[in-house]
Symmetry: C3
Subunit: 274 residues, 3 copies
Amino acid sequence: MFEKLMENLKKNPPLVHNITNYVTVNDCANIVLAAGGSPLMADDIEEVEDIVSISSALYINVGTLNSRTVDSMVKAGKKANELGLPVVLDPVGMGASRLRNESVNRLIQEVQFSVIKGNMSEIKALNTSCKNSGGVDAQEEDIIVDENIEESVEFAKKVARKFDCVIAATGAIDIVTDGKRVSIIRNGHPMMSRITGTGCMSGSVIGTYCGSNKDNIYEATAMAAAAMGICGEIAYEKVERMSEGTGSFRRYLIDAVSLMDYKTLKEGASIETR
Amino acid sequence: MFEKLMENLKKNPPLVHNITNYVTVNDCANIVLAAGGSPLMADDIEEVEDIVSISSALYINVGTLNSRTVDSMVKAGKKANELGLPVVLDPVGMGASRLRNESVNRLIQEVQFSVIKGNMSEIKALNTSCKNSGGVDAQEEDIIVDENIEESVEFAKKVARKFDCVIAATGAIDIVTDGKRVSIIRNGHPMMSRITGTGCMSGSVIGTYCGSNKDNIYEATAMAAAAMGICGEIAYEKVERMSEGTGSFRRYLIDAVSLMDYKTLKEGASIETR
Amino acid sequence: MFEKLMENLKKNPPLVHNITNYVTVNDCANIVLAAGGSPLMADDIEEVEDIVSISSALYINVGTLNSRTVDSMVKAGKKANELGLPVVLDPVGMGASRLRNESVNRLIQEVQFSVIKGNMSEIKALNTSCKNSGGVDAQEEDIIVDENIEESVEFAKKVARKFDCVIAATGAIDIVTDGKRVSIIRNGHPMMSRITGTGCMSGSVIGTYCGSNKDNIYEATAMAAAAMGICGEIAYEKVERMSEGTGSFRRYLIDAVSLMDYKTLKEGASIETR
């Protein structure tokens, strides 16, 4: 399946509209290009519908949300729904503030998302609107590990069914599910959390892969999660070998995404499907 | 001529005021520094006049324009005109939305630009306000190649005369013209379009080179286009040799700009003048 | 002392809330992570109090200030004061515009800062509201050198007492003082001023180190200034050895911060205390 998805990406490079935060926006644009797409980054409410209309997918990330951009996100999301484009949501820091909870809840009510991607604390806050005091990182007790994998999978499936979308719960282990099928992905490296933007870039890669594979959103999302994890492993290997730091890690991560192909994916992916 | 322009840059390092998009703003600031200038990045309407007043050049880029910054751009541009500073416009994505067309048209009506730089789709949209559905990349049929070079040159000259400015139409081949003189520049590498910000950085380098060479805007613009192209070639060579990806390419590109000197420029430039 | 401060950083990694400019915001987030903390970057007035409430320190940087964010900065600063968190101010470009002077003066009146960090032109403008026409760089006559070190120290001490905070006046030589104690730090390399964001990153590192060392603000600030200087030296050494440019320098600088430990700090720091 992944071979076909990769081919589609090559044959129909997607235009990916990103409405995202100003912290990692440059990383998002670069990773869309590295992944084989072309990024569009407009966020003014007066033009988001025009931009969505020429796009293949929409990625919404609330990292540094404000009232101006939330309105743009809703408008863009509705237009994308109208046109049948994949729409990916990254509810960054969900649970960390009232504004964040209200904005994300509004987005979820007004827009039908194809994929929602977040760490387990964000996914939990999504479901319960509970308080998450860990900021943008997952709370200790929410991190997906082998000990809690069964209940994590069940929880992710439940949320996927509730919002009728694919859930990508990311962490040391990633869970991707459409409510029925499940991919448990054991790729990646802890150093990925020592640079900013890894999560946002994963979201943009999901948007890119889905943009060329509208009929296989679940598979494209699992492929993106595995690909990012493999790239994290490749980047860490280089950093380790040369005794380098996080600045170099970031560069190697983007390098690896730009060099990703089916062979690397196939050999590197550690995916358990259920 | 370039030798003299380079000397002026060293002798009078310019302060370059950039009002630009939040995607590649960091790249723009870094490339101004790499090119030998000092960047100023203010965009609030209450301070742009103060900032223009201490600057040597102004670079305006509409990449992620919104109503707030368009007003600042107009105000800054008028002040720069009043003070006789070079003003460079980058009409990113011109043609991709109504807001973009209206904003750029307003800028062109209210501000006299010294240089307008864009890919051929943007330059065409500038002239005709026609629809450009390719987003921020040039449409297939607009890319400057040897087959359409004659008509592309004539078109660029016409637009330069119409707006009484230097036009830099960039692509696989760059055309720089003041409406009479023409430089056709065959430098660069396709990998430049696989990172975000190459175009924006080119605009900032034009602003930097013009900032120290106010009486030679046409020549300084041609020099900037050639220099960026050569740096793209140098960066690609390194990436190729080491089998690296786009993250490394970006680093080598900035490295090369920071190491650019007259010797490298003279040996590497492939410029046909008419 | 530094050994203890470093241990605290490891034992209690701080959540650092940064309200900063959109030019170097990505560098700030990455350097907080590199320095051992976790960055929070929210700036909407509706959520800054919630975010401050889960943070260990607040860093305010006026690089691209506008009316929207100044209100958020004041609100966040007051909340941080209420909670007893360290608050660091970076008055970027102070003196370069009326808006900047008024905004920074408002911040200083409404918020009690723990540390104010800037180049000597900014620190002077802070004290006198005098005009600074050099943009974001220090004026020639304000640069701290051995010839003016005595009067620079006395001036910094006076400003520290006036604002009842630690002053970090940065440049070729850094002066850190709480009005009584003084650290004169001779680390760093001129190439640090050839990339954007060095100053902003220093501010974020101060915020990070202070976040885990609330009872030793003066020492943590001196340690941050020395650490950044040492990292600049390490980065320059690599660039020099490989004949690389400013793009590589930036990467090595972030690498070095992420690899900084007590041993490197102890061996590399050149600090004269008074």
